[in-house]
C-alpha cells in the first residue's frame, strides 16, 4: 500500500543508482544532483499514490519518475525544482569537491575520456564540427560561420562525426543500466 512506502529505505537503496543514471545521461554532475533531489522530492510528494507492493515494483515506480525527470530536463534544458519547492526540501549545498566526487563515483571521467578518444579518431574538420555541436552546443548557422562553410556542409560534417562516434564509443559507457 502506498501509505506503507518507506521513503528512507527507497532512498537508501537507490540513491547511488539514480545519481549514476542521471550523471551518465547528462554528463554533468551538477545537473545529476539537481535531478536526483527533484526525483526523490517527487517521490515524497506522490508517495500516497504508489501502489507498489514489492521491491521490484517500488523500483519500477521510482524509475518511472526518474525517466520522466530526464525527459523533462532534455525538453526544457534545465532540471525542474517544482517538487523540491512543493515538499519544502532543504537541499544541502553543492561545492566543487562534491562535484569532483560525483565525477569520480559515477565514472564520468571514463565517459569523457572515451569521448575524447573517440573524437581523436575523427578528422580535424569533423572533430571540430562535432565539438562545436556536441560539446559547445552551438546552433548550426554559427558552426557554419565558425568553420567558414555552408550550413548544409556543417550538418553533414556533424552527422558524419556522430555516425563515426556511434561506432567507436562503448555503448555500455553511455547507456549503462541503473544498478539495483
Amino acid at each position: 500500500m502506498g501509505r506503507d512506502l518507506d521513503i528512507d529505505a527507497l532512498y537508501a537503496q537507490h540513491r547511488e543508482g539514480v545519481l549514476r543514471f542521471f550523471a551518465r545521461r547528462t554528463a554533468d554532475p551538477e545537473v545529476a544532483l539537481d535531478l536526483l533531489a527533484e526525483t526523490f522530492a517527487q517521490a515524497v510528494a506522490s508517495r500516497g499514490r504508489c501502489r507498489a507492493r514489492t521491491d521490484d515494483e517500488r523500483a519500477a515506480w521510482l524509475y518511472a519518475i526518474v525517466r520522466r525527470q530526464l525527459a523533462r530536463y532534455r525538453r526544457r534544458g534545465s532540471a525542474e525544482q517544482r517538487a523540491i519547492h512543493r515538499v519544502g526540501l532543504e537541499r544541502p549545498p553543492v561545492d566543487a569537491p562534491l562535484l569532483d566526487a560525483v565525477v569520480r563515483r559515477t565514472g564520468l571521467e571514463a565517459l569523457r575520456t572515451e569521448l575524447s578518444a573517440a573524437l581523436g579518431t575523427l578528422g580535424a574538420d569533423t572533430r571540430r564540427a562535432v565539438e562545436l555541436r556536441i560539446v559547445d552546443e552551438l546552433p548550426y548557422p554559427e558552426i557554419a560561420a565558425r568553420l567558414a562553410i555552408t550550413e548544409t556542409a556543417a550538418r553533414a560534417r556533424v552527422s558524419r562525426g556522430l555516425q563515426a562516434l556511434g561506432r567507436t564509443l562503448d555503448p555500455r559507457l553511455v547507456q549503462e543500466l541503473p544498478a539495483r
Binding site: 545519481l19 554533468d28 559547445d136 548557422p141
Partner: protein, 324 residues
C-alpha cells in the same frame, strides 16, 4: 583517528535526512490551489516586469527616428559584410582556430522578400595545416569563392573553380536553408536592419550616444544581454549595433558570446567575439536588371547535378572524402 567522509557520501546522507524531514511534514496543498496561487504570482510578476520595463525604453526621439529611417521597403537588399571571429585566449583575442585566420570571411548578399529569394557569394575559407580543409559534395577542396541561392524551396550552389552547379529541390518552407547563412540569428535571416527594427520596437536597445569612427558619425545601440540555456550549457550573448548617425544603416555589428559548456573540465567560460563590418548596405530598386542579381549565372561549362532533398539527404549519409 578517522578519515574525512567522502563529500558525496556526506551530501547524500544530508539529502536523505532532508527527505526524511520533508516526508514527515503534512501533505502539500492540492495542486489546483497551488496552480492558482502560482498563476496569480506569475501575473503579479509580469505586471511588475512591465512596470519596470516600460519607462526604460530609452531615448524616444532616437527610437522614432531610427524606426522611421529603417522602415521596410520592397526593393532588393544588397550588402557586403566582412565577418571576423575571435576567441579570448590568455587575455587576448586570437583567431579561431588559433593559428589560422579562418574566422575572417567576406559575404555579399542580394535579397528580396515576397517571395523570399536570395543569392549569396562567399569567399572560400583559407586552408592550411592548421585550418583543415573545406570540401564540396564532390570531394573537391573549396577555393576562391562560392555562390548559393534560394528560391521557392530550391537551393542552388555554384563553385566556379570546381565548375560544379548543384540544385537541390523540395525544401520545406520552414527550412533554415531559406535564410542566408550569415552569423547572427538576431539579424532576422540576413537583414541586420530587421533585427534592429524589432529590438527597437521591443524597447530592448539602449542608446549609447554618437561618436566619430574613421571619419564617419555613428550612433551606438546596445542590446540587453540575452541569456540562454542549451542543455547544461549556459550562454550570455551581448550585441552592439553601430549604425550611421543620420541614416541608421548598419556600420558594424558586434556580438560577444560567453559560453559555459558542460563537457569542458574544468567548467571554464569560452568567450567568442564576432565582428561584422558592413562595407556596403543599400536597397536597390526592383527591376529586371536587379532581379537578375538574385539568380546564380555560372560562367562557362559546369557539371550540373539536379536532386531532390531526399536524394541529397541520402547522399549526406555517405559524405565525400577529399579528392584533391
Amino acid at each position: 583517528m578517522t578519515a574525512d567522509p567522502d563529500p558525496l557520501d556526506a551530501h547524500l546522507d544530508a539529502l536523505g535526512r532532508a527527505l526524511h524531514d520533508a516526508s514527515r511534514r503534512p501533505r502539500p496543498a492540492p495542486r489546483c490551489a497551488l496552480r492558482l496561487a502560482t498563476a496569480g504570482a506569475a501575473a503579479l510578476a509580469l505586471a511588475g516586469g512591465l512596470l519596470v520595463a516600460l519607462p526604460g525604453g530609452g531615448d524616444v526621439d532616437v527610437v522614432q527616428r531610427a524606426a522611421a529611417a529603417l522602415a521596410p521597403d520592397h526593393g532588393i537588399l544588397h550588402y557586403r559584410v566582412q565577418t571576423t571571429i575571435q576567441q579570448r585566449l590568455d587575455g587576448r583575442w586570437a583567431s579561431v582556430p588559433p593559428g589560422c585566420d579562418r574566422g575572417r570571411q567576406v559575404t555579399e548578399v542580394w535579397q528580396a522578400t515576397s517571395p523570399a529569394r536570395w543569392r549569396m557569394r562567399s569567399t572560400a575559407p583559407p586552408s592550411g595545416p592548421r585550418c583543415g580543409a573545406s570540401i564540396d559534395r564532390h570531394g573537391h577542396r573549396t577555393r576562391t569563392w562560392t555562390e548559393t541561392a534560394w528560391d521557392a524551396g530550391t537551393s542552388t550552389t555554384y563553385d566556379p573553380r570546381n565548375r560544379t552547379f548543384d540544385v537541390v529541390r523540395g525544401y520545406p518552407a520552414t527550412s533554415s536553408q531559406r535564410r542566408p547563412t550569415i552569423l547572427e540569428h538576431d539579424l532576422e535571416g540576413g537583414d541586420p536592419v530587421a533585427g534592429i527594427r524589432r529590438l527597437l520596437a521591443e524597447g530592448r536597445l539602449r542608446d549609447d550616444g554618437e561618436r566619430d569612427e574613421s571619419g564617419r558619425r555613428v550612433r551606438v545601440l546596445v542590446a540587453a544581454p540575452r541569456r540562454a540555456v542549451f542543455g547544461a550549457t549556459r550562454r550570455v550573448v551581448a550585441m552592439t549595433y553601430v549604425v550611421d548617425a543620420a541614416s541608421f544603416v548598419p556600420v558594424r555589428v558586434e556580438r560577444l558570446d560567453t559560453v559555459t559548456p558542460r563537457l569542458r573540465v574544468p567548467r571554464e567560460h569560452v568567450t567568442v567575439r564576432s565582428i561584422m563590418s558592413f562595407e556596403r548596405y543599400e536597397r536597390l530598386p526592383r527591376d529586371a536588371a536587379t532581379e537578375r542579381l538574385l539568380t546564380i549565372r555560372p560562367r562557362g561549362r559546369v557539371i550540373r547535378t539536379d536532386m531532390t532533398l531526399d536524394e541529397f539527404r541520402r547522399e549526406l549519409r555517405d559524405p565525400p572524402r577529399l579528392r584533391d
